[in-house]
């Protein structure tokens, strides 16, 4: 994991709060994310981590608070003051979103190559041969054989679908990728392969990542920094190995001590 030399944050989150009626989603969350930094959000189901991820990725408007993002021109912009066209361009080009369920992030009835190529067309590429060769190159980088390029993802295993979803997201060279339990629901051996692949891609491409996971082993392997959430609040945050090896809050200690030793 290479660290981050830039002096300016990519994403600044100020007091983000989201209510569902009277019920709390997440409360008063603030942090900065730096270029090349991987931040893990951990906590049990219902702790608000997915709500926060959805607020950050403009999929769910916060009730209060502000989120600023450094655009490619260097200007900090409030995400919820972007025009719809700007926001969609951001999501198509500069951002990625890796869903737990690959079917939510893929088009299941078009070919693997088209799934990857579609994002390229969305950023204006029109040359069929170039699009196909870039798609083929990316399938290789996520370890999908070239001869599967014309198959649709319904015929893929869970692990392959997840790798295809990653290729689809990374082909436009985004600077920021959101991931929601990317290894959830996969066999352990498939998980290990996916994690190793993610670790390399993130480090080679210098990606910033916000990853939601309930698996502390995933957080330890992939992230530089960790935030522990409980009942909507961030209760503890810091260097990943510091929080996992020297947890301070009662709930963090419970989380860490609940890991089964193999």
């Amino acid at each position: 994991m290479n660290t981050i030399q830039s002096d300016e944050p990519l994403l600044q989150v100020h007091n983000v709060t989201r209510y569902y009626g009277d019920r709390v989603g997440c409360l008063d969350v603030s942090f900065d994310l730096w270029p090349g930094e991987v931040l893990a959000i951990v906590g049990e189901s219902g702790s608000g981590k997915t709500t926060l991820l959805n607020c950050l990725s403009t999929r769910l408007a916060p009730t209060a608070g502000a989120i600023e993002y450094r655009m490619r021109d260097g200007a900090m912009r409030n995400l919820y003051q972007l025009t719809e066209a700007e926001r969609r361009l951001l999501m198509r080009t500069d951002w990625g979103f890796v869903h737990q369920n690959a079917a939510d992030g893929l088009r299941m009835n078009v070919s693997a190559g088209a799934n990857v190529g579609e994002r390229l067309m969305a950023v204006g590429q029109r040359h069929y041969g170039n699009i196909r060769s870039t798609a083929d190159d990316w399938l290789g980088r996520v370890e999908i054989e070239s001869d599967r390029i014309d198959d649709d993802p319904r015929s893929f295993s869970g692990g392959m679908r997840q790798r295809l979803q990653i290729a689809r997201n990374l082909v436009t060279h985004p600077r920021l990728v959101f991931m929601d339990e990317p290894t959830g629901g996969l066999d352990v051996s498939v998980q290990a392969r996916l994690l190793d692949l993610l670790r390399r891609l993130v480090s080679d491409l210098g990606l910033s990542v916000v990853i939601v996971t309930h698996d502390l082993a995933v957080a330890r392997l992939l992230s530089h920094r960790i935030m522990v959430m409980r009942q909507g609040y961030v209760i503890e945050a810091g260097l990943t190995d510091q929080v996992l090896d020297d947890p301070r809050e009662p709930y963090s200690q419970l989380l860490v001590s609940s890991i089964l030793q193999v």
């Binding site: 994991m1 290479n2 660290t3 981050i4 030399q5 730096w34 930094e37 290990a192 392969r193 994690l195 190793d196 670790r199 392997l221 530089h224 920094r225 810091g238 260097l239 190995d241 510091q242 090896d245 020297d246 301070r248 809050e249 009662p250 200690q253 419970l254 001590s257």
Partner: protein, 234 residues
């Protein structure tokens, strides 16, 4: 010789919330400094807090009290209150850590595990792997293992991979957490030579070493950690 590392009034305790909030004092009023080219060995029985001190210097454990000052060129950084990204940067270019156990990464070969810290410091992949191989050879790791992931290696082989990984890059400060614990005499001698070379390069080292012979050969000073016992200070 300039001071590279200075611990000032450092204190640490653990609060065990799952055991009814029991507070376990670890160390209190830790004070010592390490010069460039010097190897300081922490002494004292298990449980005295030696490892906790090393882990605080590395930023792996939080430091409750005091300062951990690292001097690099004209800059003085307090690890105890540095931001996470500053600590990560220190770990990349300033503070190395040789732990007892290798945390293996699936599918990464031994030579790549060893080369990684040098690549992170900007060395080319070719040169880093070349240097990794020469270190693995010096530490008598059989050549047929170099391209395999170390997960299935024996304890001693894993430890030697870990030592190679810790020594490959240049860090002005190097922390040694029982690097020779399960090594035979020949390999212990290799580690002693590696430490001597680091000294000649001006590296400041803090170590925990239980082998009497290794300790005598590399320690410039021994600091008795029981002097910093937290309950003694109460």
């Amino acid at each position: 010789m300039p001071v590279r590392l200075y611990l000032n009034n450092v204190g640490k305790s653990f609060t065990m919330h799952l055991q009814g909030g029991t507070i376990i004092p670890v160390v209190d009023k830790v004070e010592f400094s390490v010069n460039t080219g010097e190897c300081v060995v922490l002494g004292g029985p298990s449980g005295a807090g030696k490892s906790s001190i090393l882990k605080m210097i590395y930023g792996n454990y939080r430091c409750d009290q005091g300062q951990i000052l690292v001097t690099i060129d004209d800059e003085i950084i307090n690890v105890a209150d540095a931001e996470p990204r500053k600590v990560l940067q220190l770990r990349e270019d300033t503070i190395g850590y040789v732990s007892q156990f290798l945390r293996t990464i699936p599918r990464v070969s031994a030579e790549d595990v060893v080369a990684e810290p040098l690549i992170a410091q900007g060395e080319s992949e070719d040169n880093a792997v070349k240097k990794a191989r020469s270190l693995l050879a010096r530490l008598n790791v059989p050549e047929r293992l170099w391209t395999l992931p170390p997960a299935t290696f024996s304890g001693g082989e894993q430890q030697r991979v870990n030592i190679a990984r810790g020594f490959i890059a240049h860090y002005p400060i190097l922390l040694l957490d029982e690097p020779t614990a399960s090594l035979d005499a020949a390999n212990r001698a290799v580690v002693v030579r590696l430490v001597q070379e680091k000294k000649e390069q001006g590296v400041a080292m803090v170590g925990i070493l239980h082998d009497q012979d290794v300790r005598e050969e590399i320690a410039d000073r021994i600091i008795d950690v029981t002097a910093f016992a937290a309950d003694a200070a109460a």
